[in-house]
């Protein structure tokens, strides 16, 4: 069907190649940057959800969830 519509587009075969190359570029950069992160930073970031902030003392009786 494509032949009916787009047979005259020059270099259309390159679209797939360029797209995959772009992806590998983005993916590689993400992997390299992730690997270069310091362990102390990674540890600090990964425990962030466990810290909701310090409960205020005057709120006696209020349950602290963690």
């Amino acid at each position: 069907m494509i032949q009916n519509v787009l047979r005259d587009i020059g270099g259309i075969g390159l679209y797939g190649v360029i797209s995959v190359c772009l992806f590998f570029l983005v993916f590689s950069v993400a992997v390299i940057r992730a690997c270069l992160l310091k362990k102390s930073f990674v540890t600090a970031m990964s425990v962030l959800p466990l810290d909701d902030g310090q409960p205020v003392d005057r709120q006696k009786g209020v349950a602290h969830h963690e």
Binding site: M1, Y15, A30, T43, L48, P49, G53, Q54, E66
Partner: protein, 728 residues
């Protein structure tokens, strides 16, 4: 350390939890009703407002945007404040988001049964509601980014990246796909036509799944799973790769919804390649979640919240493995248009989104009300009945899908279709449809049990409208720290606006590469000489077809397989759809394809069939459309519709709507009435909706038929004939 005291807003979170539960029950119930209609067609009570065609979009919108949408906001409003150590940026925007979203949902619940629809899947709402969605979404995005900018936590946790990607991408998708020219307060025509409309729609449709049902929930997973398991995420590094890999790849995969259609091959290939690559980040994320529970599996046995979470992640893993498999062309040739797709999306919706939302609700409500869950036993009961319901839903639908696909393609040794009557393949599925309804019922019972349990939990506690906490503000910038890479990912995480821009660029690349060429080459598309714009009567008939949601069961896209060309006729060409605003290719065949319906049956057959499908097709599961036989055709709308269609590119001559269009309409309507009389239908008034619908159905696919003769020749006006010539 200088600590600042501030309060988290729990009121907005509670509002979204209530909305999530209520809309979940509504959305599931609507799904059960339409599931039952597929084996019990009278269940629409012979009302036009409750047919499968009109309620299916109500079900999908209610589940996606009302249930999951509110669930997403619920989780984001809770977690964002705590991850940023800041109250939401603006309480006004929070409540604008809440009430605006509920108003949109109510508008959808009113307009869709009324037949006010664009017919584009998951984007059915008409243009005024689309504008409202854009406004509310901007309010949410500003509130999100404002909160991030006011945070007391230096770095932005990975969950927030997923929230940012969601906010930005959904805005882009919604705006691009919704572009339309209105002709009245609740009717518009897509600015795209045919193959271009299809590509934009499924770029949107696929990424609605990606960026509405997946990325926000992945963000929530990275927050709520560590909270529930009381341990950090398995690998923060993996979460970074997961994020960038996922958002970059997802946006390209849309064309896998259009394999073997008239979409250009290069776009299909891109969709396939990127869909298969999607397995990597998807499974990376799923494993990151499951491995977070390493050493904590004993908790899963005791905590119903974690049970739901584990099944949600498992369903996510299954759905994200199955999705790429379905994107392989040979698999897709069997699965597409069948119930296999329905099973696939429900694995995601019931398992991933449903179970994850239940998990969040069980975790949040006791904390908002400072109490314990009222009954862990009931929650466990909910878990097992919902799991059983999901199994009873999915297994029969997979069975139905494969059965359907194989029956469509089955040939006799003499090379004839084994099941030439489409209805045979439908009736074979009825037992599976019944089992599916049992599964849905079990799932809904579980949801009602949850609602009761949560209500009792709330009653047993005291709501905490605000949670007062302290945190240190972010230290002022004092230059780059010694020994640190100033351009590394740490630096990027401290720049939310730059981060947002990079996310936008990542998702725009995929969309642009796929969509822009479709427009750049528009002038090179050789139109088919004989393909002409619809006549005025056909335009109104097509609008009725759209209004009734016929596209929910009937495709208009014949794939180039012998099994399809034998059954339906010549395969579909891109050039046939250049005046289709919107395209109506469909995605599921509960009824046969209608692309070559024109001339297949006499007009009287269509008349009787719409009055009662079981008169002409015994055993048919299609509802009656008897109101079409009496409802007057709204010819007053014609001039505005012709003018709007001209604006989107249909070459009607200038001034055509001022007289000539009405004349053409009357002439063609009289011809249809005359044809009906020949078929012994003597009481059909020319000004009823059925006449317009018959005219449209008889036009379908006839433009390229080699033999011009047809039982109901559609008269063309002289003006329209000249249009065809100008397109050569």
């Amino acid at each position: 350390m200088n600590l600042e005291t501030f309060k988290y807003d729990n009121r907005i979170v509670r509002a979204f939890t209530i909305a999530t539960v209520i809309w979940g029950l509504v959305g599931f119930s609507a799904g059960l009703l339409i599931a039952c209609q597929l084996f019990w067609p009278e269940l629409n009570f012979n009302l036009q407002y409750t047919t499968f065609g009109r309620l299916r979009p109500l079900h999908t919108n209610a589940v996606i945007f009302a249930f999951v949408g509110n669930g997403m906001f619920m989780g984001i409003y809770y977690s964002l404040q705590r991850l940023c150590k800041a109250r939401m940026f603006s309480d006004f925007l929070s409540w604008l988001n809440f009430w605006g979203w509920q108003a949109i949902i109510v508008s959808a619940a009113v307009t869709l049964p009324l037949g006010l629809t664009t017919s584009k899947e998951y984007a059915e709402l008409e243009w005024p509601i689309d504008i409202a969605i854009a406004v509310v979404w901007v309010a949410f995005t500003v509130n999100l980014l404002g909160t991030i900018l006011r945070r007391r936590e230096k770095h932005i946790y990975v969950a927030i990246w997923f929230y940012i990607a969601t906010a930005i991408t959904v805005a882009v998708l919604h705006i691009v796909n919704s572009l339309a020219v209105p002709d009245s307060a609740f009717k518009s025509y897509s600015i795209y036509a045919g193959v271009q409309d299809a590509l934009v729609q499924w770029w949107y449709g696929h990424n609605a799944v990606a960026f509405f049902l997946t990325t926000p929930y992945l963000g929530l997973m990275y927050y709520f799973l560590p909270k529930a398991a009381d341990r950090p995420v398995f690998s923060y590094r993996l979460s970074i790769i997961h994020f960038w890999g996922l958002i970059f790849i997802y946006i390209w995969a849309g064309p896998h919804h259009l394999l073997y259609t008239a979409l250009p091959d290069w776009a299909q290939s891109l969709g396939v390649v990127f869909s298969i690559m999607l397995i990597a980040p998807s499974w990376g994320g799923m494993l990151n979640g499951l491995l977070t529970l390493r050493g904590a599996w004993d908790k899963v046995r005791q905590d119903p919240m974690l049970k739901f979470m584990v099944v949600a992640l498992t369903a996510y893993g299954m759905a994200t493995l199955e999705g790429p498999m379905l994107a392989i062309k040979s698999v897709n040739s069997l699965s597409h248009y069948t119930d296999w797709t329905v099973a696939h999306v429900h694995t995601g919706a019931l398992g991933w989104n449903g179970f994850f939302t239940f998990s969040m609700l069980y975790w949040l409500i006791p904390r908002l009300y400072q109490t314990r869950l009222w009954s862990i036993k009931l929650a466990n009961w909910h878990f097992w009945i919902a799991l059983l319901g999901m199994m009873f839903y999915a297994v029969p639908m997979y069975w139905a899908g494969v059965t359907q696909g194989l029956m469509w393609k089955q040939f006799t040794p003499e090379a004839f279709l084994q099941y030439p009557n489409f209805l045979e393949t439908v009736l074979q599925l009825i037992p599976m449809y019944r089992l599916r309804a049992i599964g849905g019922t079990l799932y809904i019972i579980g949801a009602f049990v949850m609602a009761y349990n949560l209500w009792k939990t709330a009653r047993s506690g005291v709501f905490q409208p605000e949670q007062e906490v302290q945190a240190a503000p972010v230290a002022k910038k004092t230059g780059s720290e010694p020994g640190k890479n100033p351009w590394g990912h740490r630096w990027l995480e401290g720049k939310p606006l730059l981060f947002t821009t990079l996310t936008l660029v990542a998702i725009l690349i995929g969309g642009a590469v796929e969509i822009i060429p479709m427009y750049l080459i528009k002038s090179n598309v050789p139109t088919i000489t004989s393909v002409q714009p619809y006549t005025p009567l056909e335009v109104l008939g097509r609008d009725i077809y759209i209004r009734e949601g016929c596209v929910g069961c009937h495709s208009q896209m014949i794939r180039p397989f012998r099994s399809e060309t034998e059954r339906y006729g010549e395969y579909s060409k891109a050039g046939e759809f250049i005046y289709d605003h919107p395209f109506l290719w469909g995605s599921k065949r509960s009824g046969p394809d209608l692309q070559r319906e024109g001339g297949k049956y006499p007009d009287a057959w269509h008349y009787n069939h719409m009055d009662d499908p079981r008169l002409t097709s015994p055993g048919s599961i299609m509802p009656r459309y008897s109101w079409l036989l009496t409802q007057k055709l709204d010819t007053n709308a014609l001039p505005a519709r012709i003018a709007a269609l001209r604006k989107v590119g249909v070459p009607y001559p200038a001034g055509f709507e001022k007289g000539a269009a009405q004349k053409s309409l009357s002439t063609q309507a009289s011809q249809v009435v005359a044809n009906l009389k020949q078929g012994s239908v003597t009481n059909a008034p020319a000004d009823t909706e059925i006449i317009a619908l018959i005219a449209y159905l008889q036009r379908l696919g006839t433009d390229i038929k080699a033999m011009p003769a047809s039982p109901a020749p559609a008269p063309k006006t002289a003006a329209l004939n000249t249009v065809g010539e100008t397109n050569n």
